[in-house]
């Protein structure tokens, strides 16, 4: 959670919120409340915007709270690990990875490609080559104990 310091002391808040389900006190309530934002307002707007997304999908959100307590937010695509777990059909990533340790799931390169395409649509990724994003997805899979097969 970084703080910017322009004239109106805006602050950035990064959260991961399940689509369509907002306002639980622990994650969102205090984080927003500290910055003087009514969490109900954010939750209503967020749930509205994420109506088209499958309920419960974790969505990273960047909330920009301006000095006068108004806010804007941007939603991004779900985390790569979320996609990989679904694609491999597993609930959790590996507890332990490395040589000689078993993989917990398998994913093929075409799935990696599709995941990378979704990721590329994000704001911050527009300048990256699709090949680079694919490599990043493969790297994530490797660190989760998911085998990438052609």
């Amino acid at each position: 959670m970084s703080k910017k310091a322009p004239a109106a002391a805006a602050s950035l808040l990064r959260l991961v919120v399940p689509a369509g389900k907002a306002t639980p006190t622990p994650p969102i309530g205090p984080a927003l409340g500290q910055r003087g934002v009514k969490s109900m307002d954010f939750c209503k707007q967020f749930n509205d915007r994420t109506k088209t997304v499958e309920a419960g999908t974790p969505l990273p959100v960047v909330i920009n709270v301006k000095g006068d307590r108004t806010f804007t937010f941007v939603t991004k695509s779900p985390p790569t690990s979320f996609f990989l777990k679904r694609a491999a059909g597993i609930e959790k990533g590996a507890t332990d990875i490395g040589k000689g340790k078993a993989y917990v799931g398998k994913v093929n390169l075409k799935q990696v490609y599709e995941i990378a395409r979704i990721k590329q649509a994000d704001d911050g990724m527009g300048h990256l080559a699709l090949k680079g994003i694919c490599s990043a997805v493969v790297g994530s899979a490797r660190s989760m104990g998911i085998e990438v097969v052609p």
Partner: protein, 125 residues
């Protein structure tokens, strides 16, 4: 201090660091040889060594996360870019690590050196 030098003058050098490798890369002028385009058009696409485990028509599960959407369907192997089949190839990765002009080589060398130094340092305590 970038001096342009002919490729032949520098061809014998073995870079000892990423910085050096980069300098050599930048300062050697090489004219890329364009592949004969007619040859590429007439020869059939090389038989791909890697065949996908998801043949055309397989539903790629878990990708779609929109309510209205559906999981994408796999296309023919050839419809995907060539580099896709190479990104997970262990031989290519090993070749890059062995190549002293490649950044990966120096990264790996650096990693191993740090590991060795740490090992020695830990031994002392």
């Amino acid at each position: 201090m970038l001096r342009t030098a002919s490729a032949s003058a520098l061809s014998g050098l073995r870079p000892t660091s990423t910085q050096q490798a980069r300098w050599i890369q930048l300062s050697t002028r090489v004219f890329s040889v364009k592949e004969d385009s007619t040859a590429a058009a007439t020869t059939p696409k090389a038989k791909r060594a890697v065949v996908s485990s998801a043949p055309e028509g397989t539903v790629l599960k878990g990708i779609n996360y929109m309510k209205d959407g559906k999981d994408p369907v796999a296309l023919v192997d050839d419809a995907y870019p060539d580099w896709l089949w190479e990104i997970n190839d262990p031989e290519i990765r090993a070749a890059r690590i062995a190549d002293p002009m490649d950044k990966k080589h120096h990264k790996e060398a650096r990693r191993q050196k740090i590991k060795a130094d740490n090992f020695i340092r830990d031994k002392k305590t």
